[in-house]
Symmetry: C2
């Protein structure tokens, strides 16, 4: 099943003509999630043809405006367009107070339910789980409580060797157990081992999102072996002092984390408005971690 | 002195590719004001080259999101760019609570002072006055408390007939009194009448902003003889029932108000996203009030 990340905004702090503020649209096994929602996110969605009524849940990393000021506008538009489907919002608890005031002062009833779930920036937490997907948060190091998010697509069911199962007399009602990895015994007491009657399904895949954060090796365990890592790279080495002061990262630091975590590929983003593009970031990251690139708004990256 | 209105957004409810949400930049005798600030206003300002650090005060008409969700983002950007100059915000009192929470959760200190002045939607009020400008609010009829705004550039000083004054022996220190319309008497008891030694200065000019409002003749007295009127025209006659239900106006209704108030010119805006453009609105308004047009984002209209 599909698993992809579309970048809606890859700038930082202030929107520019080429980059919107942080937001990403995640499609994973027919679930649709939004990470962060800077001002203008709904406009970016329209621009890139993202159907925002499909969003099941929103994950907000922290309460700096460039990561959430667009959320209330997006919810308002969903309401004006008659959304009925409930939406989940995972965010620092203070956001609920702000949203509730904004909705109250608007004076009209929302057409759909908002389920608010407060996040916790102190330890890894499972925020959401169903049969196909797990979403976890984990702590980042920034000026205010901030979480990263990890989206995991669970291992697929094993593929049944149908002809072998049939010819050996496996009962039809045992097929799904074998595909789930369970060994079965028939009425005559004969055992059929899952591993002998199935081939492996597609393995687990995962995507981790880290924005905003200073360089911090303590996050490496949460990112270990993920297929795709987005790590902020606001600055190049030239501005490492500025990175430290603002608790952001450089491209080299992002690449170092990617290498330590042995990830499949690194996406860098959250570009400071002082840069025209991410070329210098790529140059500085490549010697440390070759499979890295700087994202562009609108691009979709498969996990 | 200059007096103009630049349209930053003329759409309603949801932003579209051609129209931003409500916001206008007013330049009046070297003062710079912003009316309303829908999501994306700061991006529109960049697009149209408006220097937002010049803004002295912001006037928010009401607390529907398409008129204010962009304000906190604009203030944040002013802060990030190191603004020092204080700013005044005139708005319904509830907005202060929301802004204060958003600033508090951001965790950093604003680099400039925000002076919040609560507006009152029950009667006409002078919000701001100095030697050159008066800004008043007045009540509109909408689903939540809403005010219109009237910006008046005061009458200019009279022009002194210098040669005549000199030759008749008017004392130099009396010149400014004559220019201000005051008659003077010299040491010998001779009177000099202002009207005989000066010509009229430029007369008072005014601009009134009405968005959002249902058709309401009660606002006509506040708009009487203004040089330029912006009146919302969300709908055409085809959707008059929708206009009534949502407490908005049609183009014919805007034109009727303009005619009754004997204004110099009518600007229509706040276009429903169901329309491609304002052509039909213009067709319906012209038979009632010829000097009317539908605004476009980025355009500047002299008062």
């Amino acid at each position: 099943m599909s698993f992809s990340v579309q970048i809606l905004g890859s700038g930082s702090a202030v929107p520019t003509s080429s980059r919107g503020l942080t937001s990403q649209f995640i499609s994973i096994s027919s679930r649709h999630f939004l990470i962060d929602c800077g001002e203008g996110t709904q406009t970016q969605m329209r621009r890139f043809g993202v159907k925002f009524q499909r969003i099941d849940a929103v994950f907000i990393s922290h309460l700096h405006g460039d990561h959430y000021f667009g959320l209330i506008g997006l919810l308002s538009t969903m309401n004006l367009l008659g959304r009925v489907k409930p939406i989940k919002i995972f965010a620092p608890k203070e956001l609920e107070t702000i949203l509730n005031l904004q909705i109250e002062y608007d004076g009209s009833r929302m057409s759909f339910d908002i389920e608010f779930i407060a996040t916790e920036a102190k330890q890894e937490t499972v925020l959401f789980e169903d049969e196909k997907v797990i979403v976890r948060s984990f702590p980042l190091s920034h000026k205010v409580p901030t979480t990263g998010f990890k989206f995991t697509q669970k291992e697929k069911q094993r593929h049944l060797l149908v002809d072998k199962a049939k010819s050996h007399g496996v009962k039809f009602e045992h097929y799904h157990l074998l595909k789930s990895g369970v060994d079965v015994v028939n009425d005559e007491g004969k055992e059929f081992k899952s591993i002998e009657y199935t081939l492996p399904g597609e393995s687990e895949k995962s995507y981790a999102f880290c924005s905003d954060t200073k360089y911090s090796e303590s996050i490496v365990p949460f990112l270990k072996n993920v297929d795709l890592l987005y790590h902020e790279a606001t600055f190049t080495e030239e501005f490492i002092d500025r990175a430290k002061a603002t608790m952001h990262s450089t491209a080299q630091q992002a690449a170092t984390i990617a290498k330590m975590a042995n990830v499949g590929k690194l996406l860098m983003g959250h570009l400071s408005a002082r840069y025209e593009d991410g070329e210098q970031h790529i140059e500085e990251a490549h010697p440390i971690f070759q499979k890295s690139e700087f994202v562009e708004d609108g691009n979709t990256y498969p996990v």
